[in-house]
């Protein structure tokens, strides 16, 4: 059968064994030829005169829009939608924190000791820990809900002063984040803004909203609610699902939405529900980023009830076809439509906790702060019911897949702890030439860049050879972990300098920061390195890459990287190449605006060479790293 490739040999074998299901690996081939105008970004569907496509015979849309306007407008719409997704996550996390802090929710904060530091960072006060936590949530929500003409107040507290100054100078400081998204939709509607440069600057503004709020503040609040990540060892891959248990699969991005379920499963009563049905108990199996987040904080919460991370976005249909998942609960995105017929075949109960991710055949049980315990009990009862009815009817086929020694729990805080309380040792390793630089391999997996995780794995391999330390977050990490890159033995793939560092610190050469939200953590690491070195972020020998970016959220993440002044590599271009102007601004002119730029290179060897050259050039400018 002609199916899309994957970099994961165990997964490939399992895919080939499944002849009766239709997955994304089949549909990628079925889709065949792509629309060239869509790929270039020069198709506009904004009005009834269209769709208009730009060609030499028709260089303008009916309204007069040029390729530059169409491309910039389409890109801003995509970035706005991506920003909106992350802003939804930070909003629901802040609402949960507020509910717990004010006693509306019966849950407790797992890391109350982290409240003080975040309150101090954000400049909020309170008489008690709970009052401070509530003040944190209020400050975040107040910023999100501000009108666009009022600048958000926490930006200055979160950003490096040098960045802040540059953003102010260029006019990138965002007003209320939700209003910024709202006005981006206005700008990109029919016969409104036609200025590509204005639209691209709006993208960077939304990047700041995404990065500081959607990513960084979500992580910081989740760390308080769910516990701080600690470096440890965990299992990944399909083998994490133990058929002796009732298995609740989870997909999405909001760890704290599962706070109630995890708390209930940690009680004897919760597990007794599973045992009464004849199972050993009830487990959570992670799929997509929310599983990565659970794995990250496994030491702090859910240990014993979280059986591990099965895989990234494009593994979910196959994970369901193991038959070992009794119920799948999704709270946010990266839940593929394709799971619905497979769930029907394998009699798997589907539940959504938020109507933003409501699937046609799933039951919607809306998560409401304050009602977490009722929801947790209901979910467990539904899982038990599904287990009872389906297990006599389905065949379970869990393959030997994944690694049991994946190093997890890396955060900006746990990494610093590992290095002895400061990032200085990492700077020293770069400065003395032991490691060549740091690359963030971030974001999604897709099937288009050579196959599932194919480019991510190939690029990572090339970077390690060149003694470049890889920090990873998102589905890239899920894929890399399932291909052995986050296990200690992966040091064998590293160059001599990086291998020595792995030996000394007992770490793999790819550091697993967990979910895509942790892109915010990796960018905090970059900011901290810059601060310690007394320089600005664009001067760092750091490159970030979303080699197999998939979706609009990844574009919003990328815009944060660009606003921070980082080089952002993509294997495939976003839909911008139809506009010479937009392409030039993002790939050539941006260094003069924020210091960042987009680098598009499909070939992993050429891309790695370019990363290395950029790092050499930046180190030379700083006079470090033996790069005279």
């Amino acid at each position: 059968m002609n199916r899309c490739a994957t970099a994961d040999p165990g997964l490939a074998e399992f895919i080939q064994s499944k002849t009766t299901i239709n997955t994304a690996f089949d549909r990628f081939v079925e889709q065949g030829v792509r629309c060239g105008y869509g790929e270039l970004g020069v198709c506009c569907r904004l009005c009834s005169n269209g769709p208009c496509r730009i060609t030499p015979d028709a260089p303008k849309g009916v309204c007069g829009a040029t390729a530059d306007t169409m491309v910039a407008r389409g890109f801003l719409r995509a970035v706005a939608a991506g920003a909106a997704c992350y802003l939804h996550v930070v909003e629901s996390t802040a609402r949960r924190l507020k509910a717990i802090a004010t006693g509306v929710s019966p849950l407790t904060l797992r890391a109350p000791e982290s409240v003080d530091a975040l309150a101090a960072l954000l400049g909020v006060t309170g008489a008690t820990c709970a009052a401070k936590a509530a003040a944190i949530a209020d400050a975040v929500l107040a910023d999100l809900y501000r009108p666009r003409h009022e600048k958000m107040t926490l930006v200055a507290r979160m950003a490096l002063p040098a960045r802040m100054a540059r953003w102010r100078e260029v006019g990138l400081l965002p007003g209320g984040a939700k209003s910024e998204v709202f006005d981006a939709l206005i700008k990109t509607s029919t016969n409104l803004n036609t200025d590509p440069v204005d639209q691209l600057l709006h993208c960077l503004n939304l990047g700041i909203c995404t990065g500081l709020y959607g990513l960084a503040l979500t992580n910081m609040m989740n760390d308080i609610i769910m516990g701080e990540p600690e470096i440890g060892t965990a299992a990944t891959g399909f083998s994490v699902a133990d058929p002796a248990y009732i298995n609740i699969g989870v997909t999405g991005h909001s760890h704290s939405v599962f706070a109630g379920l995890i708390e209930f499963l940690e009680t004897k009563e919760g597990q007794a529900l599973g045992r009464a049905a004849g199972a050993h108990g009830i487990h959570i199996v992670g799929i997509t980023c929310v599983g990565q987040d659970m794995q990250l904080r496994n030491a702090a919460c859910g240990s014993g009830v979280f059986s591990g991370q099965a895989g990234n976005n494009f593994t979910q249909e196959l994970m369901l076809s193991t038959g070992a998942i009794d119920m799948l609960v999704s709270e946010f995105n990266c839940t593929l439509s394709g799971i619905e017929p497979i769930a029907a075949d394998y009699k798997i109960k589907l539940v959504c906790l938020d109507d933003v991710c409501k699937q046609a055949s799933a039951e919607l049980l809306a998560d409401t702060p304050g009602r977490e315990r009722e929801l947790a009990r209901k979910l467990c009862e539904l899982a038990v019911e599904s287990y009872r009815t389906r297990r006599p009817l389905v065949t379970i086929d869990v393959p030997q897949h994944g690694y049991r020694d994946v190093v997890t729990g890396v955060s900006e805080k746990s990494l610093k702890k590992l290095l002895g309380g400061s990032m200085q040792p990492l700077i020293d390793l770069i400065a003395n030439g032991t490691i060549h630089g740091v690359a963030g391999i971030l974001g999604c997996s897709n099937l288009a860049a050579g196959g599932h995780d194919v480019t991510t794995v190939a690029l990572t391999r090339e970077l390690l050879k060149r003694d470049i330390l890889v920090l990873s977050a998102g589905c890239t990490t899920g894929g890399l972990a399932n291909c052995g890159f986050c296990s200690p033995a992966a040091k064998e793939w590293a160059g001599p300098g990086l291998r020595a560092v792995c030996d000394k610190l007992g770490i793999p050469p790819v550091l697993n920061f967990g979910p895509c939200l942790a892109i915010g953590r990796i960018e905090l690491v970059a900011a901290e390195l810059a601060q310690l070195m007394g320089i600005d972020i664009p001067q760092l020998p750091v490159v970030i890459s979303a080699p197999q970016w998939l979706e609009e959220q990844a574009l919003a993440d990328g815009c944060f990287g660009l606003a921070l002044g980082l080089t952002v590599h993509l294997a495939q271009p976003p839909a911008i190449l139809g506009s010479a102007l937009v392409t030039k601004v993002l790939t050539e002119d941006l260094p003069g605006i924020t210091g960042g730029r987009v680098l598009v290179e499909m070939d992993p060897v050429k891309a790695a060479d370019q990363f290395a050259a950029i790092m050499t050039q930046k180190k030379r400018a700083l006079g470090i790293g033996g790069a005279a």
Binding site: G32, V33, R34, C35, G36, Y37, E39, L40, V42, R53, I54, T55, P56, D57, P59, A67, D68, P573, L577, G578, S579, A580, L581, T583
Partner: protein
């Protein structure tokens, strides 16, 4: 002999065949390179998706006629019909008089939109492994077929359009 079969009932008017034609005749031969410098340096397509009198999509291509009106009208001798049945233009000879443009009943002898002012037309992707428009058609409205007979033109319509009264013989 390679010919192009067209089942126009499958055409959805996506114009991917036009884009593929633009790309393959541009310097870098990809859509990305074709659009890299903006429309000013991009050559138009040698084909065109039109609407028929019933307002249905009609993918219009050069027929490479057996008795080509364009070749007959060509004042410079640039247009010739080869042994492989393809009618092609030698751009070194073309003087841009556009007699071909005025004589082609299908509108498929086209003036270049570039500054050299010469004519452009379908070359049947002579010398290429696949015909670019065929490879880019997501609907399989266009397919390549191998036939023994070089006559009867380059196109094989599943649903033959009405013959054009003033046209050359396809």
């Amino acid at each position: 002999m390679r010919k192009k079969a067209i089942d126009r009932s499958k055409c959805r008017g996506c114009k991917n065949c036009e884009l593929a034609c633009i790309a393959v005749h541009s310097a870098g031969t990809t859509t990305h390179t074709a659009y890299a410098t903006g429309m000013k340096t991009t050559e138009r397509a040698r084909n065109k998706v039109e609407a028929d009198p019933q307002n249905k999509s009609f993918p219009q291509f050069c027929r490479h006629c057996d008795e080509p009106a364009c070749v007959e009208a060509c004042t410079s001798g640039a247009l010739t019909k080869g042994a492989d049945g393809l009618v092609v233009c030698d751009h070194d000879i073309c003087i841009g008089c556009y007699m071909c443009v005025m004589s082609c009943p299908y509108g498929m002898a086209r003036p270049s939109v570039q500054t050299d002012g010469k004519m452009i037309k379908c070359d049947g992707c002579r010398g290429r492994d696949v015909m670019a428009c065929v490879a880019a058609c997501p609907q399989r409205c266009l397919t390549a077929v191998e036939v023994d007979d070089p006559g009867g033109g380059h196109l094989i319509y599943a649903d033959e359009p009405a013959p054009n009264a003033c046209g050359s013989k396809p």
